[in-house]
Structure formats: C-alpha cells, structure tokens
C-alpha cells in the first residue's frame, strides 16, 4: 500500500469527536483542530498508514478510513 492514496478518504464523526488531538499528534500535516474544538482532515491526499493509526488511537473511534467505493 502506498502511503499517499487517492482512493481513500478520511471521515470524522463530528458528534463523537472530542478534540483529543491524538490524530493531530499522529499526523499534524493533515489533521488539525478547528475553531469549534473538533478535528478536521485538511488534505486532498490521504496518508493511509497515518490515518489508520489515528483512527486506531482515537479515544472516541470518531475517525473512519473509507475507500472511494464506499466500503
């Protein structure tokens, strides 16, 4: 798996997100905490390995990595 893969997208459940910032600590180039205290994914391309790690570490399981065909 390449580390930059346009076939995936990162989805953050804003109701679940508590702004713990663990995703930002995992990949600070692509995750950020917005003005409302919730996480955002700001990159067009996805670093799959780091996104997977962020999803795993998220204390609220608020991050999902979806492939473009919806699985």
């Amino acid at each position: 798996m390449t580390s930059s893969n346009a076939k995936f997208r990162v989805v953050i459940d804003r109701e679940l997100c508590v702004g713990s910032g663990l995703c930002v600590a995992t990949d600070s180039r692509r995750f950020a905490i917005g003005p409302d205290g919730k996480a955002e994914y700001s990159s067009e391309t996805v670093d799959v390995d780091l996104a997977e790690e962020a999803a795993e570490l998220c204390p609220q399981s608020a991050i999902s990595l979806l492939s473009e065909d919806g699985t």
Partner: protein, 403 residues
C-alpha cells in the same frame, strides 16, 4: 469583579450541589472565590472553551511543589516525579508523548476485548448477591469491580487487589482533598514508594517474559521510543490504577441511585435494554463522578469579562455546565433517552478521559446484568456523599435490597 467566599465542603453543597450551581451559573457565571483562591467557571460554553484553551494548564502540581519549603520538596521528590508524569497533570509537549504511549495500550479496540473479563468478574460478584437480601453497593460491588478489572488489564494478580485499594485511596485523598488529613503527603509518600516497588517487580518479570497485558504493551512501546523511561511505564500504570478506581465506582453507584430515584426511567430501561447506551451518557451528565477540574492560567486572559491573571487558579465546574439550560433541555430531568448528550464529564480536548471506553463498558455490563438478575432492586438506606471538593463520591454503606 464578583468575589464570594463560598465553602465547597459545606454539607448542603456536598449533599446536593445542583441548586447552588444553578444559582451561580445564572447570577455570576464567572467569579472569584476568595476561600478557594481562584476563578470559578460554570457555563457550558465557557467550560468547553476553557478545556480547549492551551493557555490554561493542567499542571497544577508544579506550582504546589514550588511553594513548598526546599527540604519538603526534597522529601516528597518521588511524589512529584510520579504526578509530573501523569497525563492528567502535564501539558504539551510532555503530555503528547506520554498520552500517545498510554493511548496505544488503551485503544477502544483493546478495551472492547476486555468485555469477557469484565463479565466474568461481575458475574462472580452478582452470584454473591443471590445469597443475600441486602447488599452494600459500594463495598460489595462498585469499589472492588473497577479495581479488579484494571488490575487484570495491567497484568497484576487478582489476590493483590487489596494492595491497590490502599495505595489508590491514599493517593485519591491527596489529590481530592479529603477532610482532616493533614498528614496526606507523608502517607502518599509511603504509598508511592510501596506502589513503585510492587510495580517494578511486575516490570522485571516482563523484561524476560512479556505477556498479553497492558504493562507488557507499554514496555513494548517504550522499547521503540528512547525518550520513554522505565519510570514512565511504571508511573503510567499507577495512574491507571488510581484513575480507574474511584471514578468508576462513583459512576456505577451514582447512576444506579439516579435510576432508583426515577422509577419511570428505571421501568423504561427494564422494558427496553436498547436505552442502556443513552442511559450511561445520562448517568455521566446528570450526576457524574466528578464535579470539576482545575487549571492554572499561563498568561493574562479574559473569560466572560473577568480578567484572569498569569498564575491564577481556575476551577471549571463541569457538573454545572452539564446542567446549563442553554445547552440541555430540561437539564434537571434524568432522561435515559436523552440524545445527543454532549456532557463534559469526561473532559474535552487533549485531556479527554482515556478510560472513557472502559468506564462505559463497565457500566454497560453492570447495568445489563443487574437489571436482568435483580428485578426487586431498591434503595434500603440513606444516600450520603463524602466531603470532597472535586468528586461526587458516595459513602459506604450504600444499602440496597436485592430480594
């Protein structure tokens, strides 16, 4: 600037803080309490913003130790070293490093694998209830359950749980300001020393024989990161044992009592177990384990017009925020179907409770099995709270009839 001199150990406030919170929230949402010597923040939006404010620091321990006489600071250096590596009391960048270390061993997926362990420990305890007419929910249940679960997760033998109770209670008293304990530091020093020796023993065993437990996982993470010390692993395990102890006890006891005091809500839950997840969140919101958390200002700032100065203490009353009518409809009603329920009981931002998935799991398993097995559960004595500033901790015995 509004100044008050209210006493947070006042018996009326300890018994039921919510009328007081409602009053200060509407009349003086941010004010200075001279007795507590700090700023008080009560509204949801202000507490939320404060929890996300990186100029409000969680390290309340360093100022406390800096104010000590040099000989005392030296005497209690181990306590400082321990507390200064607990994620709850440190700030970035150190916080980020240690939180990531612990979070690796504490992912929601790792916690979900604990379900069978929790169910097995719970079943044993509930079997004992079957032989009784009346139980003490604290000492027969809510106190031993979380300690047994967390000890098992870390990899300590269950027969040692009584040791954790003593150490955790001593440290909880130091941190949450129990009344009339002037020798709190001396006792905490002894507890930390014993705790350290004990956990160092577990650590040494795992150097040669890693196991499928949390201490081994933390040691694995330590091996791949030279900035993590052996002490960080041991002190983090101490934090897990202390933090997972009384908070979860309070969550279980307070939620059970809220249900028993709202018979219609209890009936609804018995009728339809699908409400258990929302009932858990409502238990956390309505009368959660902690009333508030403390911060120290790292610079001058304003909160709702109040001028907070560098070094000032700030107390965030999450329990007041959780009943803010601007955020929650009918905030004083215990409603097991409430959704969404964005309570702040687990904090928010970088200090969001790492044990949240485990606390939710323990309460879910406990509620499910207690409701199924004990249809006659009822309060059989008074509900008394311990005199604690920051927590909502019920006193044992908390008697309930089970048959």
């Amino acid at each position: 600037m509004i100044r008050v001199s209210h006493d947070y150990l006042d018996p009326g406030f300890i018994a039921d803080p919510y009328p007081y919170f409602k009053k200060i929230q509407s009349e003086m949402p941010v004010h200075w309490n001279e007795r507590w010597r700090g700023w008080i923040v009560t509204r949801y939006d202000d507490v939320y913003a404060a929890l996300h404010n990186d100029r409000l620091m969680a390290d309340t321990v360093t100022p406390y130790f800096n104010a000590m006489k040099p000989q005392d600071r030296e005497k209690y250096a181990l306590i400082y070293d321990v507390l200064n590596s607990w994620t709850v009391f440190i700030d970035p960048p150190k916080h980020t490093r240690l939180r990531r270390l612990m979070q690796r061993a504490f992912t929601p997926r790792a916690i979900s694998k604990m379900r069978e362990v929790v169910e097995a420990i719970l079943a044993k305890q509930l079997d004992k209830w079957e032989q009784k007419k009346q139980i003490d929910v604290i000492d027969d249940f809510a106190y031993p359950l979380p300690a047994s679960v967390i000890a098992t997760m870390i990899g300590a033998p269950l027969e040692d749980v009584h040791l954790f109770h003593v150490w955790a209670d001593t440290l909880t008293n130091l941190l949450h300001g129990g009344v009339g304990a002037s020798d709190r530091l001396t006792r905490a020093q002894t507890a930390v020393e014993e705790f350290n020796v004990y956990l160092s023993g577990l650590y040494a065993q795992r150097l040669t024989n890693p196991r499928a437990d949390m201490m081994s996982w933390l040691m694995e993470a330590q091996a791949s990161d030279p900035s993590i010390r052996k002490e960080d692993v041991i002190y983090s395990c101490m934090l897990l044992l202390v933090a997972g102890h009384e908070t979860t006890q309070n969550l279980i006891a307070n939620t059970l009592v809220a249900l028993l005091m709202s018979p219609d809500q209890l009936a609804l839950l018995r009728q339809d177990e699908r409400y258990i997840p929302t009932a858990i969140e409502e238990g956390l919101r309505y009368n959660g384990p902690a009333k508030g958390t403390m911060r120290v200002a790292a610079g001058d700032m304003e909160i709702r017009g109040a001028s907070i100065k560098h070094g000032d203490r700030v107390l965030l009353w999450m329990a007041a925020a959780n009943r803010d009518p601007e955020k929650f409809a009918a905030p004083d009603t215990f409603d097991v179907t409430r959704s969404p329920n964005p309570h702040l009981t687990f904090s928010h931002g970088i200090h969001f409770c790492m044990g949240a998935p485990l606390a939710r799991l323990e309460l879910e398993v406990a509620l499910t099995h207690i409701l199924r097995r004990f249809p006659k559960l009822a309060l059989a004595g008074p509900v008394v709270y311990r005199p604690r500033v920051l927590t909502r901790t019920m006193e044992a015995p908390l008697l309930m009839a089970v048959a």
